[in-house]
Amino acid sequence: MSLLDITDLTVTYSTDSGTVHAVNDVSFSIDEGVNYGLAGESGSGKSTLAEAVLGLLPSNGSVESGSIEFQGRDLTGLSERERRDVLWEDIAYIPQSAMDSLDPVMSTGAQIRQAIQTHRNVTDDKARSRVRELFEIVGLDPDRIDDYPHEFSGGMRQRVTIAMALALEPDLIIADEPTTGLDVIVQDKIIDKILEIQDRMDSSLLLITHEIGVIAETCDELSILYGGKAMEQGSVDNVLVNPTNPYTMGLKNSFPEIEEGDQDPVSIPGSPPNLSEEPSACVFKDRCPFATEECEASHPDLVDLPNRNHRSACHHVTKAAQMRRDATDPETWGIPDSHDESDRGEVLLETDGLEKYYEQSQPLLEQLRGNDPNYVRAVDGVSLRVRRSEILGIAGESGCGKSTLGETIALLKQPTGGEFVFDGEPYEHYADGNMREFRRKVQIIFQDPFDSLNPRQTVRQLVGEPLTIHDYRTDERERAIIETLEKVGLTPARKFLDQYPHQLSGGQRQRVAVAKALVLDPDFLICDEPASMLDVSLKVNLLNLLRELADTEDIGIVYISHDLASLVQVSDRLAIMYLGRVIEEGDVESIAAEPKHPYTTSLLAAAPEKDPTVDRDRVLLDGEPPNPVDLPSGCVFAPRCPKAEDECRESEPGLDTVRSGEHRAACYFPDGETPAADDLADDRSDSQYGDPEFSPPASGDSASD
């Protein structure tokens, strides 16, 4: 008997503007001990499905029809009370955003204890020792159970929620995007942890994510959802290796991978469907290049493919092999294939030893004694060069100073040291009354397309605002705006002029943000994680747009991200940052192919793989970056480095320590000279014992002397 059986589930939300059909006739079942994946873009109904199973639908959502049977009991018919008993005891939940999911005014241990004591009648002492045990299982220090959530980092908080999910050894764990918003390295560690534990506990897992790579690596079976419909389902090996549904093909092709750096990922144009009516035609037909009249008529039923665990909802399932071939060609999707490398132009921006230090506040007494304050070295001697029509990618974990670097080279923050030259003029020139000129030439695109647009302004006002500020092309304002909108792919531009940000989709909003930056015809663009909030297919759209801009408009671009896979796709050159320093720099191809620095190796290794048949060696880094206030002497990476020797701890290697052509790295024992990955994995276990003292920095300042 299967553990969870969902049959023809339909969930709707009633809103002011009518009914939204979020999940339509979805059926699947999860057997005991199986990892099941649910994939799809945002708005595909995957989170709604999880909430329906948990009974956590918001008050305007309701299960219209269908059944959710858990161990033979229909969950939809349970009373409030009965449901509460099932929750956590049988079905536990790992929420999406670890940052906000823990009660901020309750210690983490108490929150787990609460979960235990709500369901079991145990004494405080017993519950406490269980919490200690759980902390140990998920790799947290059991002495920290009385710490509050804000004292943990994002990854550690996610471990707390995992510990909580395990507390009662449930039969099913539902994990809703458990790693979204975390760094690749942390993501990799969390996934590894979930798998390890789940193996031990023998429970089933329902994993919801938009990253097919994560599913490919962790799950046995999956369903691909689109517009509230299951498009394709079956075993991971079948579905992801030989997709038979155009949507799965599109999703798979748009997932960027490091190895395919030379090949543009193919995105799915268009945006997810409007769900205000129950689907009558195939939900994907508007974006599907293979759509025919048949697709207009009805949504296809899931068809069992012979002889394997694989079902697909497509009218053309018989032509799957043909479609699969065509789908890798961008032209099929109506995307012009215009990818000719233009020559890189003159050097536009150059920094030499650029520094941005923050003074730490120190007690009055120390100030009076005249002691030097501590500095946080957010950017510590970075030397970069960016040419015209070149994209320089800057990668690193959160907290490595990459965003500060972006803001410093945009001169939104004043550099505290080092040389800065833009367009032949030094920093002093711009600081001395020429800032307006600089602001016109250099534009920055921020992380969040939802917050960086003023919700009370129309697209016309938003894009036109910079023109007014800089008195640029004011006589042909309207034309400038329309031209720019068309350049970023918002066509027909007139349609968008009078719309407000909330009327646009996430991808369109980010395009408006890009248009806002481009309307002044800048020479230089700084993008700070512009795609991290976007779905894969939108992300690919944006990356392709930036690539095209660099090629055709001759502008230099700095692209900052922690997502190495998309950086490899878009950039010409890469700089890897760790704790405010650039530790490796060079052409994308040569870094992706043979990384020199052990840190780069582990970053590359942490990116998930979309092909389930490929076995990836996980290189898990211990700990977290040290506190940038009291840095260890020598190489800053030494405390976490599997290959660190005494030499590394004594003196710091310069960026020129290893050099082959343009490719430079700051390491005494570069990878590539010995077979890298296996060695690293072996060494890792040793290094755990070699460096047991190392502990991650506590949050807050370290000035508690």
Binding site: L54, D85, L87, A92, P104, Q114, S361
Partner: protein
């Protein structure tokens, strides 16, 4: 020194400086006012120039300003408030009973309303969109925005004159002459007089707490951690309790600040109900330029606000683990 002790020391130092500033401002402002306490006596022609000089010398008003300021500082910080010019009794003897009268009316009222309105606010915030929510918001907003003397007079008209349930005026019946605090306040007669002004002040303060609590819970209601609490299988009331606990901080701060301001009394309320409180006394003293009395009264009020602020800070640090007690370092 632990982190918390250092934080406390810092806050204490700030409070002391604030107190000094407040005391000095009182001194200067009073001296800037035109006229002097004896003006009316002089214009009435009851005092000769000789007598005026003597009295001024007695109060030290003939000395240079800085000397007056120094001796003023010295005595006020030692809680030596001196002698009221017009009443010819020690200032503390005038102020103490009025202060007690005010506190005994307003502190219980504030505590009652803080507890009841906050709980109600949390409940209606949780059940957003219910009739009870709309009703309670309208009612409390109405009570909050109507000047307290209007509500007071309305209540007096209804309950004292029309229904004749309670007396309209004063703190005790005219014939009663109790001795000591216990006899004054622990009597049925006092309770009888107490109910009406107490109810009005409860209603007057209720709006702020209700809205604060409601908004806090509404804001927290959609948050991820409550969803996790719900997924854990907590009952509706347990979830509400967590939401309430999370939105308690602004309420707590507001309560402490209000508590400090209570020392100023509710002047209009005291006037309407003929309540012999500190607010009324202060107005009288200012009118008559009774320097020592005004200085002492304002000093007590300022001190109360400063102490309440300090208490709010400490409570905040205690109840919110995320408040960095190091005073805004890198976080």
């Amino acid at each position: 020194m632990s982190e918390f002790q250092r934080f406390l020391a810092k806050r204490l130092a700030i409070s002391i400086v604030l107190t000094l500033v407040a005391v000095s401002v009182i001194f200067v402002v009073l001296r800037l006012l035109p006229g002097s306490p004896f003006e009316s006596l002089v214009t009435a022609g009851n005092l000769s120039q000789q007598q005026i000089t003597e009295i001024r010398a007695m109060y030290g008003l003939d000395q240079p300003m800085w000397r007056q300021y120094l001796s003023y500082l010295q005595s006020i910080l030692l809680f030596q408030f001196g002698y009221s010019i017009l009443r010819s009794q020690p200032v503390w003897g005038v102020l103490a009973p009025r202060l007690v009268n005010t506190l005994i009316l307003l502190v219980p009222a504030l505590v009652t309303t803080a507890v009841l309105s906050s709980l109600l606010g949390m409940y209606v915030g949780w059940n957003r969109g219910s009739k009870l929510e709309k009703l309670s918001i309208i009612a409390t907003t109405f009570l909050r925005s109507t000047p307290v003397f209007i509500t007071g007079i309305l209540f007096v008209i209804i309950f004292a004159y029309n229904l004749e349930l309670v007396p309209a005026f004063g703190m005790r019946s005219i014939s009663a002459s109790p001795e000591g605090y216990v006899e004054t306040f622990a009597s049925l007669d006092f309770l009888h007089h107490y109910i009406l002004p107490f109810t009005v002040s409860v209603l007057y303060y209720s709006g702020d707490f209700l809205l604060l609590a409601r908004n806090g819970v509404v804001e927290k209601r959609g948050s991820e951690f409550l969803k996790l609490h719900r997924a854990k299988g907590l009952s509706e009331m347990q979830q509400l309790a967590r939401a309430g606990r999370n939105s308690m901080l602004p309420i707590l701060t507001y309560f402490a600040l209000r508590l400090g301001m209570i020392f100023q009394g509710l002047i209009l309320l005291e006037v309407v109900f003929g309540w012999p409180g500190i607010g009324r006394e202060l107005v009288l003293a200012i009118q008559q330029q009774d320097y020592p009395l005004v200085q002492a009264a304002v000093f007590i009020m300022a001190l109360a606000v400063i102490v309440a602020n300090l208490v709010a800070d400490v409570l905040y640090a205690y109840f919110d683990p995320t408040v960095s007690t190091s005073g805004g370092g890198a976080a």
